[in-house]
Subunit: 345 residues, 2 copies
């Protein structure tokens, strides 16, 4: 798990140590009065229709409307005084931007976020409303990671990566810790937890937490079809890239391959990777609207979509699906509502 | 508060005793593992825009998608064995129907619900999915109360009234008890609680609970303009009817006058009644979508609408708005999303 260019046994800045269960516990402590301990939402009617019990971990109710606040805040809570003075830099087309911006305001630092020129206006506006400076880049011609690194070097600030960071993974992992604690309090056994997967920060963190806190529960990553790099990497037990050329409405889940760090945490802990098409994702968004009264963005709905599509055995099981985010514009939402059969069967 | 036709001091079947704070406490006990203890949801960005702190009591996440389950279950949990065998009868065009149907299934009785012929297909379908028998009536030519009473007499069953019932009011009052307990746990002082008002069951119950548990907090009913019978009744300190001829998209809040029992509980406990137009209600639905990721039906959004419209002094205050229900069809929802400025200012 260490890079090739440094002496074995020497800690490398390029290959940080993976987080531990204890790190997730500490992250939960930091987040206690900052993040929302989100509810598990369910609908007996939906359960009847599906023949299983589905508990939706409603991260759409998280601060900034997605789980991304957890990792961002956990990372930013560890800035030293110098770093706080210099400000942080991040790149994101969506939810990580808002998470970093909101966390920066709370810890008292400034945030500069590189966003693509074609990012949804709402996400740009909300990132600014959280107090961050937004800089635009061109997806086709510019490398956002390099731009962010260059700015951070220039300022002496820190880049807050969306998933390749142990503190970010530990922060996202608090989702898994909460799920395990909620199940215990409800006195129920969880057969499986399904987690949307882009770069793998949330699925890795959740798998780590559940492996520690509820080891008989199987954790699955869920990706859009054509972008199932985590599923293929888990199957091959080595990082694999997407073939490319895929199309998906899940704009937050289009990473080409799992992160080195996220994959190191996820392998052996994720039971497998599932993939769903846009049709199931649409149906999941409509189901969340109809049966749960929750607004879920396409990328946030893929775990529920995997249950609707019976991507794993569901009959008689108790399953948690993480609804990761709800930042969707009204045109997309209405278009999805109009395209699906009503009421959802 | 007793009827004119019976001896003073003699309990009358026509004029039941108003519920007490202790009744609400007992209702909370009955509901403990049945109803959802719904979260208070907030958005720091929304708070910034409004210049006040708004906590949304998300009854859209309640079992059956509205607060109505609380009162229905509390009433049905008190059926004796004979009554349970005979089944219950109710009338409703919407959320009370689903609340009674779901509660009936849990306590093991049958439910027959009179619904108007033109009730939304989704509400009819969901009422049936909860296991109830639906019978239709014509709003223009038939009296649903009489039809329900006649059927109940014929069967020896019980009519579950939507609000003129002490057990129903006590059940709805658990919303107020939860709000007070949540505020205590958060260590915050609540200036006001705003509650959508149709027949007055929820506003009366909530006012009763808050008067006991958080007496410095002011509770307001919120009604659609043209249907502000509770507001006018409170102002006159006597039950007043709507003038008639009003138009509103809030189909669940169109009662002509407060119930005798609900008004008896509400008077002196509600600080006043507010009224909002459809424009503010639409804005509230879009705000709940954009800032809270919650699906709210028109009638469920009027308390938030009152804050947006500054129907009371809000600056610097901490306010709870009850989002009472989310059972809205996709056409209406999309139409509202399309009609409003985006993003909401």
């Amino acid at each position: 798990m260490s890079g090739a260019s440094h002496t074995p046994g020497t800690p490398s800045l390029d290959a940080p140590e993976p987080p531990t269960l204890a790190d997730i516990g500490r992250a939960a402590g930091s987040l206690a009065d900052r993040a929302v301990f989100t509810p598990l939402v369910e609908s007996p009617l939906l359960n009847d229709r599906l023949g299983c019990r589905v508990l939706a971990k409603a991260e759409v109710l998280q601060r900034t409307g997605s789980f991304k606040f957890r990792g961002a805040f956990n990372r930013l809570s560890k800035l030293n005084e110098d770093e706080r003075r210099m400000g942080v830099v991040a790149y994101s087309s969506g939810n990580h931007a808002q998470g970093v911006a909101a966390a920066a305001r709370i810890v008292g630092t400034s945030a500069t976020i590189f966003m693509p020129k074609d990012a949804p206006a709402t996400k740009v506006l909300n990132t600014r409303r959280h107090g961050a400076e937004v800089r635009f880049y061109d997806r086709a011609t510019e490398n956002r990671e390099e731009m962010a690194e260059a700015l951070a070097r220039e300022r002496g600030g820190v880049v807050v990566r969306p998933y390749e960071d142990p503190d970010v993974i530990a922060g996202q992992g608090t989702v898994g810790l909460e799920i395990a604690s909620q199940a215990r309090r409800m006195g129920i056994h969880l057969d499986a937890v399904l987690v949307p997967c882009g770069g793998g920060g949330l699925s890795a963190g959740t798998a780590l937490a559940i492996a520690g806190a509820s080891p008989e529960t199987r954790v699955y990553s869920v990706e859009p079809q054509g972008f199932d790099d985590m599923a293929r990497s888990l199957a091959a037990d080595a990082r694999k890239r997407n073939a490319g050329g895929g199309q998906s409405m899940c704009d937050a889940l289009l990473m080409p391959e799992p992160g080195a760090l996220t994959f190191a945490v996820a392998r052996g802990r994720l039971a497998g990777g599932l993939a769903v098409g846009d049709a199931a994702t649409r149906r999941a968004m409509v189901t969340a609207f109809a049966d749960l009264n929750l607004v879920v963005e396409p990328s946030g709905a893929v775990a529920l979509a995997a249950v609707l599509a019976e991507a794993i055995e569901t009959s008689g099981r108790t399953l948690v699906v993480v609804l990761t985010g709800g930042n969707v514009d009204p045109e997309t939402f209405s278009e999805v509502l109009a395209s699906e059969e009503w009421p959802p069967a």
